[in-house]
Amino acid sequence: MSCTGKTNPDAYLSVRRLCIASGAKLLVQGVDFDAHKGRVTGLVGESGSGKSLTCQAVMGLLPHELASDGVIALDGKHMPLKGPSSRIRKARSGHAAMILQNPMSCFDPVFTIKSHFRETLAAHGVPKRENTPDRWQAELAEVGFPAPKTILPLYPFQMSGGMLQRVMIALALALDVNFLIADEATTDLDAVSQSRILDLVETLVRQRDIGVLLVTHDLSVIARLATDMLVMHDGVIVERGPVRDIFQAPAHEYTTALLAAHYRLYGMTPPERRPDPALQPTVPPRSLQ
């Protein structure tokens, strides 16, 4: 992984030297990573480790009071970190979309699903003649609603969390994005709904060749879906690599502790920490200009 700040042209999403600070406190300290199309990259870490801030920075949704610096490239194009929301939206439109935790609170309760579709597509500049129920229904059918026509007139509170999460994915896909960021997208769902959403994401990766950044604190979600993983702790990526290798032999102390807690849930013996501490060079905290 280069520390030169040059983005990787082969990767769909490339993040370099991302720093986010609140006042004098560095919340994200020089994060570098790549994520590819057709692959699921897992990002693991505890609450407050900076995973959500990293996602927000990729989408240009950081709160105004936070200072940020670094390079984010989607499909080889550099993305503005800050600026007017119309510019931020235009730059990312068609490239990346994000689905969030707790779908119940992500929808406007006084509008129907139909209005949500119409508004989202219009905001991203889809002309009126293409912004039609046929297109919305096609997206809903793709995320596994057998009768999409009956979904459109519903209000968000008439649907379950699992259904709303699928509608959120449909809204993201309606913009023909190539990259999906799922920030704890299945955390509040029950096990059956969670497994259906993960199946859906897997199908989308296979059929549409989209890339996914899967942010979670649950290692079994990573085990189920991801091919590569990043472990974040206190604003730094402490370990990265293929999921299978890390699950068998974690190198960093923090990853070892996480995996020990994870295996204990299943009543299994945790793996030994890899004796060779040949870790990636840890990136020193950098001050922001």
């Binding site: 609450s47 029950d190 096990a191 059956v192 649950d218 290692l219 996480l258 204990r264 299943y266 009543g267």
Partner: protein, 284 residues
């Protein structure tokens, strides 16, 4: 960072004669839905539920979302009245003859609860210290230095620092707030704690730590738990026995049946779905 594995499954000898802390006797509950312009529709959630929790026992209550698990928890706490049947805390009914909730001081103290929504279950204007001190002032009449000391002790218990007592809820993360809710539930030294999806949104390391703490309390102080969840892994790790909510009825089951295919066949439908949706421990 290291994890103590205190909660390795150790057999606990259950005392069949121990008194019931919490008891549900053929409880039914019906909610009415709609009815502003048309006739209200009756929705039956619980159809005759029986459950008894003895001192020091940990009962897992599993069900899909919307199956009525939380409703049962709220009725047992005396937050809601059952449509018929009765709930008892420490052997006394929670409702009077007219069906209104009447709890005495001991009953109120005996059962505490931790809800899933941590931010919604604390007063944003109080500091963490005040939140934890409230039950202590109320039930133990603690004051001054004694109170501060006990609050600090509880904060350390749940893995926070005594310095956190002066902070307001907005300055904590979700996981930290959940630990404050747990400290508040532990404060009056209850006989039973109802954990309503209390651990499902926590980080794995915090979850493991809280499980160790709860397990220690169960052994040392004979605290009983009603563990409401949809995560079968936690039930397997932590509970003595488990029941599942299946169309408004409680069905007891053996958690070991989940491991083999033969046993799985005997499980009720919703539980079988939950079991087959369990995620793998290691990448395939």
């Amino acid at each position: 960072m290291s994890i103590k594995s205190d909660t390795a499954p150790r057999p606990i000898v259950r005392d069949q004669t121990a008194e019931c802390v919490l008891e549900a006797r053929s409880i039914t509950k019906t909610y009415s839905r709609g009815g502003f312009f048309k006739k209200a529709e009756e929705v039956a959630v619980l159809h005759g539920v029986d459950l008894a929790i003895r001192a020091g026992e940990c009962v897992g209550l599993i069900g899909r979302s919307g199956s009525g698990k939380s409703t049962l928890g709220r009725i047992l706490l005396g937050l809601e009245t059952p449509t018929s049947g009765e709930a008892c805390i420490l052997g006394h009914r929670t409702t009077d003859e007219k069906g209104r909730v009447r709890l005495n001081r001991d009953q109120r103290r005996a059962v505490q609860v931790v809800f899933q929504d941590a931010l919604g279950s604390v007063n944003p204007r109080l500091t963490a210290g005040d939140i934890i001190a409230e039950p202590l002032r109320n039930f133990e009449n603690l004051k001054g230095a004694q109170l501060t000391e006990r609050v600090a002790e509880l904060l350390v218990h749940v893995g926070l620092s005594p310095a956190d007592a002066v902070k307001h809820p907005a300055r904590f993360s979700g996981g930290q707030l959940q630990r404050i809710s747990i400290a508040r539930a532990l404060a009056p030294r209850p006989r039973c704690i109802i954990l309503d999806e209390a651990l499902s949104s926590l980080d794995m390391l915090v979850q493991a730590k809280i499980l160790d703490l709860l397990d220690r309390l169960r052994r040392e102080d004979k605290v009983a738990y009603l563990f409401v969840t949809h995560d079968l892994r936690l039930v397997k790790l932590f509970c003595d026995r488990s029941v599942t909510m299946e169309q408004g009825h409680l069905v007891p089951f053996d958690i070991k049946d989940l491991a083999n295919d033969q046993g799985k066949e005997t499980l009720p439908g919703d539980l079988r779905k939950l079991a087959s949706a369990m995620l793998p421990a290691v990448p395939a």
